[in-house]
């Protein structure tokens, strides 16, 4: 059964992609955050460019910060955004 993932974007990631979220069907072989990014990049030149420099991005899985190699598990939401600048 295919796993649906809500991918949400903030700050300049959202602006460059041109929308605030994508609902995707995870491919069978995508098990980590990095693999979802590769999958998105393979689909579209815009993702390819926005995700080109991974050092400028941060990730949260179900609203907790995670690294690129974190397993998706049964997470429902992946957030992709630049380093935070609040306060």
């Amino acid at each position: 059964m295919s796993h649906q993932l809500n991918v949400v974007y903030f700050s300049w990631v959202k602006e460059r992609i041109g929308r605030d979220q994508d609902i995707i069907d995870c491919p069978e072989n995508a098990e980590t955050v990095a693999q979802i990014l590769e999958f998105l990049q393979s689909k579209d030149a815009v993702y390819q460019e926005v995700f080109a420099d991974l050092k400028k991005l941060r990730f949260a899985l179900d609203q907790d910060f995670v690294g690129l190699e974190t397993l998706l598990g049964s997470a429902k939401e992946l957030a992709i955004f630049p380093p935070v600048t609040g306060g």
Binding site: F10, Q63, F65, A79, P82, V84, T85, G86, G87
Partner: protein
């Protein structure tokens, strides 16, 4: 008692301090951050990740309450468009001891700067817009508490 608010409206620092001091700890430390003008800046646009923001702020507050003996913690962070001079954030802590209150307040601000999902966009007087980039000094400040 942990109180977290993420809101567009302004806040009254005095009201929040008085609320914490009513807990009777005797030592109340607070920090207010505001939009600092440099002549070129017109306003800031504060974006956040609504599903995550309160969770992240609460996690910071819980960690602070594990490290220091606190009677109360208040965190208020504004979102939306804020003009130069407007208040952005308030952190207020209450303890029996001033060092605990002050250190916890400082810790919460340092953590908030690095792990709370807010993003600032600068809107300049000439209309141009820039997303603010993370600052090394903020990363260093957050790192300090890990030593």
């Amino acid at each position: 008692m942990i109180s977290i608010a993420v809101q567009e409206n302004d806040f009254e620092s005095g009201t929040e301090i008085n609320r914490l001091s009513a807990m009777g700890g005797g030592a109340i430390s607070s920090f207010v951050g505001q939009v600092r003008g440099d002549g070129k800046l017109r306003a800031l646009e504060l974006e956040h990740y609504p599903a995550m923001t309160e969770k992240a702020l609460r996690k910071i507050a819980v960690k602070a309450s594990e490290q220091w003996a606190l009677h109360g913690i208040t965190i208020i962070h504004r979102v939306g468009r804020l003009q130069v001079g407007e208040q952005i954030v308030l952190v207020c802590t209450c303890s029996d001891h001033r060092q605990a209150a002050i250190e916890a307040c400082s810790y919460i601000m340092d953590q908030l700067k690095t792990v709370a999902p807010f993003w600032k966009k600068e809107i300049l007087q000439d209309g141009t817009e820039n997303w603010v980039e993370e600052r090394q000094s903020d990363l260093d400040a957050a790192q300090y508490w890990k030593n």
